[in-house]
Amino acid sequence: MEKNIAIVSSSYILKPKEDVMSDREMLYTVVKDAMDKVGLTRDDIKSIVTTDEDFTVGRAIADEFTVDFCGGKLKPNARMCAESMLGLITGFMQIKTGLFDVVVCALYDKVSHIEHPYYLASLSLDPVFERPLGASPIYIAACEMRRYMYKYKVKREDIADVIIKMKKNALKNKNGYFGANIKREDVINSKVISHPLQEQDIAPDADGAVCFILASSKKAKKLTTTPVWITGVGYSSQTASSSWYTSELADAGYLKQAATAAYRMAGIKNVLKDVSFAEVDDRFSYKLLQHIEALGICKEGEGAKFIKSKKSDIDGEFPVNPSGGALGCGTTLTTCGAMRVAEAYNQLLKQADGYQIKNPKRAVCASWAGIPTRSGAVIILEGEIK
């Protein structure tokens, strides 16, 4: 496993829906902050990578407006319409070519300006076969949850306990806006959105922007004494969003495929032994379980058992989402994955005040592109901070 590309600096903003900054203000703030932290000027930046989706940003070519706010004027700007971890993976690949030594990855998304988020999500449904059904696509998450609970005989109460833990973790996180001490009844009695999915199963919406500055190993050593290396990347699309129902819905097959590639690159043979902790997309409660199972952190169907156990505690053998995840901090749509990487980065730098893991060395971060997709990505981070 090679240590060629490092995150040398990161900055992020996470705001609940009610506290509004424009997307351009968020981008400028995080990019400027990340650059200032390592003393970089605009001239030092060789390439900019952004991720966003036109429909959620509300512009026909959203990246027209990211150029100015990322210091990208008259620079190579690349834009992926994909989950934010693909932005990091793109920056990683760009540096690996040898063409650039410093890349700014500016990843953002907003929900506060969307009046009807589920209507917007329905526009991702296939217009020939699925959209004419006229249903809110949240039924897809409900189908997946139902199938998961059926196949692995997982009870409503067990999944409730998972949500309780995530929200409790978030209480220690200054960005844990949705942290709370809730009880089983609060989950079980919450509004049914699409059975068996209830209100508490769905991570609340938030606005967020994350900037990562990536550098080649030579450059990283000049910029910081605490580089965090990206030692493994993998991404995969199990099926098209128009054929999501042809997958086994109980499992996150896309993440298993992505993890296989990332683990191979990072030389990981046994995730529980070789990795210290995980930050994983949990925008739905059952998704967290599917994701940790796909990553090999526990056996299929045993996700709830693992999360409920002390093993996954912040001071446990293998902490999962010590930040509180999206359930505790809010999901920022396409930027949910980047938030998980930002949290893992802070942990590795021992900057997770109030929820710091002892001696973390390696993190596995996992993302999903949301309904109706079957696409996900995995990034392995390694830190050297004593």
Binding site: L74, C81, L99, G234, A240, Q257
Partner: protein, 385 residues
Amino acid sequence: MRKVYITGIGQTRFVSKSPLTSAELCFEAASKALSDAGIEKDEIDAVVFGCAPDAFDGIAQIGENVIDACGGRGKPFVRNHFGGATGVASCCVGWWNVASGVFDKVLVVAEQKMSPPTPHAQEIFIRNWDEMYHRPLLPNVVRMASLEMTRYMYESGATKEALCEVAVKNRTNAFYNPNAQLPKKMTLEEALSSRVLTWPVSLSDISPTSDGAVACVLVSSDVAKKMKCKKIEIAGVGWCAESVYWETRGISTYTYIEKSARMAYDMAKIKSPQKEIKIANVYDPFTYKECHHAEGLLLCKKGDGWKLAIEGISQKDGKLPINPHGGLLGAGNPIAAAGLMQVVEMVKQLRGEAGEMQVKPVPSCGLAHAWGGLFQFSAVVVCRS
């Protein structure tokens, strides 16, 4: 730097309204490219997909919708979107997928359907502009082009006749292109007398809206050695973006185009593009754009772009043929796919497989260019045989 080769190409016909879905268009182009390369879809390591505004196709997260059709099922799949520059930029994305060493065989697919929006795709374009400062002025692409075209004509001295000659050249070149949407042996009189939309832009100055898809296979040099098909090397790639705020950068600026070209020329070790580039597929969504871009791409002196067609330099049998396949004006403009068409038609020329469109002698070094956003993105690929 790891070398990357284009070993397979394919495209659909470009038409005004295709009855095929976005996925079906992708499938056709992807199948043809794989067949041309002589490899199966299971051998592909990753897929790069390019599509400009999702709103044209009418499907949000359109990349996710076409994964299976592009042969990406169960594979790493990523979609990029650089506005009009997407097609050539997709080739750049494919390039770094392979040049990074992460993948060895990548399928690049670019697609667009512009027929779904009613009454017309222009309705989507209004959402490109800043909602506070610019949208209230009710701009559209034709109005913006008229600003830039007026300024270009003022600064360079370009005549309407010279710019119409670009339309005549490209529409006539398209006559020999079996995939073209608007083949026509056009006369200068026809071009000059076409209806004015927003002065000085008239109908003959504009490329059509189109549906279509294009694909190509990119491989590492180790894989290319074992393949029997013709291999064309990607010698250089470049891309650059300018500010979206025209107030800060001048109407007719092309610094971003020049920077994208220099990035590709440096990589390809090209010192004199006017001499070393033997065929250039320059993005021509408007007639004057072919001229303006040619200057930005350093294919002629500043201010001389408008002379290239009328003086015969950019004709198929000229010193520096530009768009011998008809360009966007003649072959059609399904936004993302049009850019990749510029790459694929250039590859055909370098292979000597362009049929009646063939530039002679067969060129050994070519350039493909695409441009987009609010007149702010530029992407360039330079290839050698």
